[in-house]
């Protein structure tokens, strides 16, 4: 038996070119359609076994929410079938259709009744729901004054008060604080052990990898990939940050030769590379240009995911248009929020020993190599080339701030941003043993 069977599923929304078109379709004799079908999902096939946890990923508009709605049954498929077994609880978007004017408690009753529970059953469950949601006196206030986090807390508590056979969660967790999210995932983990099937849509790749063994990547309404969550999420990140699927020579290159490969050509191809951020801030006084870059980690070019602490090479290519007696390439890592994590340049990295000069027409490739001692997350890379004395005044030739986004992955996360690689050991208390022998 399978928990969810999706067979040839497709969903099209009708798009009417004019207001009258629908009327014509309803009234005029004959079955001539007056609408254009907009296919949101097409030819989706998969089965999910009981107790399996499956993540669904895809960019905005890929059809994730529509798919979940079809599985939940709020939408009806245009083609194909969906079969589910057992009791299904779904949290589609925020709140489960809470009524803003009623109190949290009344809404819990309504939610319970919508799940087909009787008043007495809900009364029995209520203390537990209240305790789990942990929103205090707000339970007796109208939902309209709730924060989105509180709504989510109450909705999750109510939806999961009884263990469902299938639990569907669409992005809802994102608004909860870290503490409550952890609590939710604890409950989900317990349900999973007891045999609940989980279907999770999340933009947090970390959550998908952590909680699902399997993931499905949707792209333009098709199943693009269905496989282990790590594989699929990597592919998803490639999609997100624009890695071209062309067959590159991956990992075959010896350490360092990538840089020489890059020397060929003097076109500005920076913006065509995977991970490039259009929102970059490019500025400088001129006299040169940063043309290209390459990131290599664990033998992979432009990796969609860099393992935390993996040695990573950042190459970038500069064309000089003027003569410079001293040039200083620089490199900077920031968080998405803009916090400077680490910045260095050729002078600092070589402790003042390096001195570079350039002539007009020169093309040079520079490399910064460092371990990515960072926590799981996305980070922005900036490259820069300056001229002048690194100690007194550096004149920017060109800087490309926040021009590349990388993703660092880490299975077990620590607190904070930077991995200071603490080690840990327990020191046996020898003194007490000695004390015993003394007596």
């Amino acid at each position: 038996m399978v928990a969810i069977a999706v067979d040839g599923l497709g969903k099209a929304f009708k798009h009417y070119p004019t207001r009258w078109a629908r009327l014509a379709e309803w009234i005029l004799p004959g079955n001539r359609p007056h609408h254009i079908p907009k296919w949101v999902l097409q030819d989706i096939n998969f089965t999910i076994d009981p107790g399996e946890a499956v993540g669904i990923v895809g960019v905005n508009g890929a059809g994730k929410s529509t798919l979940l709605k079809l599985i939940t049954g709020t939408l009806q498929p245009s083609t194909g079938t969906v079969q589910t077994h057992g009791r299904l609880a779904a949290m589609l978007e925020l709140g489960m259709g809470f009524h803003p004017d009623f109190t949290g408690r009344q809404n819990v009753f309504m939610a319970g009744q919508l799940m087909g529970l009787g008043i007495d059953e809900i009364k029995d469950l209520l203390p537990e729901i209240e305790k789990f949601a942990d929103i205090g006196d707000y339970i007796d206030q109208p939902v309209r004054i709730y924060s989105s986090g509180m709504q989510m807390r109450l909705a999750f508590s109510a939806a999961t008060a009884v263990r469902p056979d299938t639990l569907i969660i669409d992005e809802a967790m994102a608004v909860g604080d870290a503490y409550f999210q952890a609590k939710c995932f604890q409950r989900i983990a317990r349900f999973k052990q007891q045999g609940t099937t989980l279907l999770l849509v999340s933009h947090s790749v970390g959550d998908i990898v952590k909680h699902c063994e399997r993931a499905i990547l949707l792209k333009n309404g098709h199943v693009e990939q269905d496989g282990s969550s790590r594989q699929v999420t990597n592919r998803y990140l490639d999609e997100l940050f624009g890695k071209s699927p062309c067959p590159e020579v991956q990992g075959s290159c010896q350490f360092g030769c990538a840089g020489t490969q890059m020397l060929n050509g003097d076109d500005d191809v920076f913006h065509t590379r995977p991970g490039y951020c259009v929102e970059e801030h490019r500025w400088g006084q001129g006299g040169g240009a940063i043309l290209d870059y390459l990131i290599v980690a664990q033998g992979e070019h432009y990796p969609s995911r860099i393992e935390s602490n993996a040695q990573t090479d950042f190459y970038f290519k500069v064309r000089f248009d003027n003569d410079f007696s001293s040039v200083v390439p620089g490199f900077l890592i920031k968080t998405l929020e803009g916090i400077f994590l680490y910045g260095t340049n050729s002078f600092i990295a070589n402790e003042g020993r390096s001195h570079l000069a350039a002539e007009a027409g020169n093309i040079k490739v520079f490399r910064f190599s460092l371990p990515m001692a960072l926590n799981e997350g996305h980070y922005l890379i900036s490259f820069g080339i300056s001229s002048g004395d690194p100690l007194t005044n550096l004149e920017p030739i060109e800087r490309r701030y926040d021009s590349v986004m990388i993703h660092v992955g880490r299975t077990i996360q620590f607190w904070g941003l930077v991995d200071l690689t603490a080690s840990f050991e327990t020191i046996e208390q020898q003194r007490q043993l000695n004390g015993h022998t003394c007596n």
Binding site: F13, K14, R22, L23, W26, K69, T72, G73, T74, L75, Q76, L88, A90, L92, E93, G95, M96, G97, H99, D101, F102, Q106, F109, M110, Q113, L114, G116, L117, G118, I119
Partner: protein, 261 residues
């Protein structure tokens, strides 16, 4: 279908209760408004038509006759109007629910009927008390109200579902029906007796399905006689037709409806 509805009885009962609470949540007089409203209307009509315009019912001669005649039509019309106007917006109002939760959608029209029925029961109960106290209680014929009410409710909800479904796709339907309902009220002998109309107009008014229903209520409550059952057949047939058409339309468009909300 009925099984599914039965499983969700708790939701239906809860919805009716919540709606009732919601309506009077921030009012001091609360549920009293349920009958204060029609009471005011009855007083207005009684004063204007019975006292000022000196209109008397030709058949009976009693002090309260006109008031009773008026209530018989006005209160039951109120039930009809409430069911149809609520049903016409029921799917639009609950878009949020329909999109997020999978539950038997037929719960919604059932909730409408139950809610309107509750309001009607309150006010009609009071009216019955008045009949008993004023010595105008019609006796056993009172029971004849039940089948007439059943036909009327079936007619109202059938029409309501049809309009409710159409209203999701063509919002004009809702607007139009509000206007139609106004005309319909005055084209039905509720405030005035049918006898004041000319022969020709009377013939035309007979095609109004509400005329027979109202006539039945008025016969039962004013004269205490059994209604003319034969005259109710056309409206019964129409009610059944509307109910089945409504269900068919609802079944066929339930999926598309959620896409549209």
């Amino acid at each position: 279908m009925f099984h599914a509805l039965w499983n969700y009885r708790s939701f239906i009962a809860g919805s009716v209760k919540r709606e009732f609470q919601l309506k009077y949540r921030n009012s001091i007089l609360g549920a009293a408004w349920t009958f204060l409203n029609p009471l005011a209307m009855i007083i207005v009509y009684t004063v204007i038509f019975s006292q000022i315009m000196r209109m008397k019912l030709p058949e009976v001669d009693s002090t309260f006759a006109y008031s009773i005649y008026l209530c018989a039509g006005l209160l039951t019309w109120g039930l009809f109007a409430e069911i149809t106007t609520r049903a016409q917006n029921i799917f639009l109002e609950n878009a949020n629910l329909l999109k997020k939760i999978n539950f038997p959608r037929l719960c919604l029209p059932v909730t409408v009927v139950a809610g309107a029925g509750l309001n009607f029961a309150i006010i009609f109960g009071l009216f019955t008390c008045f009949l008993i106290l004023s010595g105008n209680f019609p006796g056993w014929t009172y029971l004849a109200l039940l089948p007439v009410l059943a036909v009327q409710i079936a007619f109202a909800i059938g029409l309501g579902i049809v309009i409710g479904v159409l209203n999701v796709f063509f919002r004009d339907v809702g607007q139009l029906f509000t206007v139609v309902l106004q005309f319909w009220f005055w084209l039905t002998p509720i405030v005035y007796p049918i006898s004041i109309l000319s022969e020709r107009v009377r013939g035309m008014i007979a095609f109004n399905p509400m005329t027979q229903l109202m006539a039945a209520y008025q016969t039962i409550l004013v004269t205490g006689q059994w209604p003319d059952w034969i005259s109710l057949w056309p409206v019964t047939a129409l009610a059944l037709l509307l109910c089945s058409w409504g269900m068919l339309l609802f079944r066929r468009s339930a999926g598309e409806m959620v896409d549209e909300l």
